[in-house]
């Protein structure tokens, strides 16, 4: 039976925890607003980029000389999974959901006899994958030092991926991230970025007319493809940031509510114990007086 002092301490510590989760929720809420605006603003650019590239790719057709980034290596034996997660936890199932999605894909690919490699962006995903796939993780990019996400970060990651592609280290690269739909809904998403997959509808938009290229189509593609990789990664990072704060906000909201429930329960126990002690003392006094 805990003493009254123990119970008081316990309530105080739960209250302190509740204050922290409440503060974290409010911080996440304010950061979410900015992250959400950034993610939504980046969508049209990434989408237009994809559309333009799709149109160009469709009109270039199956050119033998098309850059490696567009046509791929021609096989699909080695898959690189680019797993983007957060650097921090305390955000509910956010990191786990992305990692689970990637792991399911890895298991399916391995069952088909393909080789799987991981490229981790964000320490949390790395920590979760390390146990199972330690040797298959080829690189880890840690963005903890970055306070705000810039396009340079995405470019840096893209450069590393493209360098590996040029070395024929993989055939297909798939990006894993969490798409932000709303504060309570973040959808773990897989997007193949090398070679890029385009909507087959895009080809029809031209109505058979061929593009004029100024200068050559090849030069344009050489410039545009690496940029597209960076743009898609940048979009993934921004969506991830917004999803992270959304997930953290709802996780901390839950934690605050749970702490509230716990405080109510603990207060009840505290009051009961106190009442029991008073009653006990009264009985002792009364029975003592009667005995006289």
């Amino acid at each position: 039976m805990p003493s009254l002092k123990d119970l008081r301490n316990r309530i105080a510590s739960t209250k302190a925890t509740q204050k922290i989760t409440k503060a974290m929720q409010m911080v996440a809420a304010s950061k979410l607003r900015r992250a959400q605006a950034a993610a939504e603003a980046a969508r049209p650019y990434a989408a237009s980029m994809e559309k333009v590239l799709g149109n160009i790719a469709a009109s270039v057709g199956s050119l033998e000389t098309a850059p490696l980034l567009l046509r791929g290596t021609g096989s699909d034996n080695v898959h690189l999974l680019l797993v983007c997660t957060a650097e921090r936890g305390l955000c509910g199932p956010f990191n786990t959901a992305i990692v689970r999605h990637a792991r399911e894909r890895a298991i399916a690919l391995t069952a088909e006899g393909k080789e799987v490699k991981f490229f981790c962006v964000g320490r949390k995903g790395y920590d979760q994958l390390r146990r199972q796939y330690g040797k298959q993780i080829v690189e880890l990019v840690d963005l903890r030092a970055a306070r705000t996400l810039h396009f340079e970060h995405a470019e840096m990651i893209a450069e590393k991926v493209i360098a590996r592609c040029a070395q024929f280290e993989f055939d297909v690269c798939t990006l894993f991230f969490s798409r932000f739909r709303s504060v309570i809904a973040q959808i773990p998403t897989a997007q193949q970025i090398i070679p890029p997959l385009f909507d087959s509808k895009a080809a029809d938009a031209l109505g058979g007319a061929a593009y004029e290229f100024e200068p050559e189509a090849e030069d344009i593609l050489h410039e545009l493809l690496p940029r597209n990789v960076a743009v898609q990664i940048f979009r993934a990072l921004l969506e991830n940031a917004a999803s992270f704060y959304g997930a953290q906000m709802s996780a901390m909201d839950n934690a605050t509510r749970n702490a509230g429930d716990m405080i109510r329960k603990q207060t009840l126990t505290y009051n009961r114990t106190r009442q029991a002690m008073i009653t006990k003392e009264l009985i002792e006094i009364i029975s003592g007086a009667e005995a006289l």
């Binding site: 603003a41 980046a42 237009s48 980029m49 333009v52 149109n55 007319a209 100024e214 200068p215 344009i220």
Partner: protein, 130 residues
């Protein structure tokens, strides 16, 4: 009317119908009107002009790509700032960086490319100074 989409990585700068857009392509300026033949060209640092009704709007763009399809014109700019808000200092520092890059590069083809970019940046600076 020409349908015009103008986006940068940060936001959508313009989306709607206009009369004409002058685009600074790498091989020269182009006036794009409705019904232009499908075309793709990268952009050089320069001034993009939007004509709508009697109004004229000028935007400084640094790098990017323009695509004309039957659906309209799409400009994906790496950086875009309305001319009035454009800070000459950013351009000056970009020119300085480019000069250093040209000096540092040993690869012949690479240096040609960088020198061309430097030239374009200087042309833009001169155009803005007018």
């Amino acid at each position: 009317m020409l349908h015009f989409e103008f986006v940068s990585p940060e936001r959508v700068l313009f989306s709607g119908d206009v009369d004409q857009v002058d685009v600074p392509g790498v091989e020269g300026d182009m006036g794009i009107l409705a019904g232009h033949a499908p075309l793709v060209t990268p952009l050089r640092p320069g001034i993009l002009t939007i004509y709508n009704g009697g109004a004229r709007e000028t935007v400084v763009v640094i790098g990017g790509i323009a695509e004309v399809s039957p659906a309209g014109l799409t400009v994906l700019a790496d950086q875009a700032t309305p001319r009035d808000n454009f800070d000459a200092m950013t351009l000056a520092s970009a020119i300085k960086d480019a000069e250093e890059d040209v000096a540092d590069t040993t690869d012949e083809a690479q240096r040609d490319k960088l020198a061309r970019r430097l030239e374009q940046l200087k042309t833009l600076q001169a155009a803005l100074a007018q």
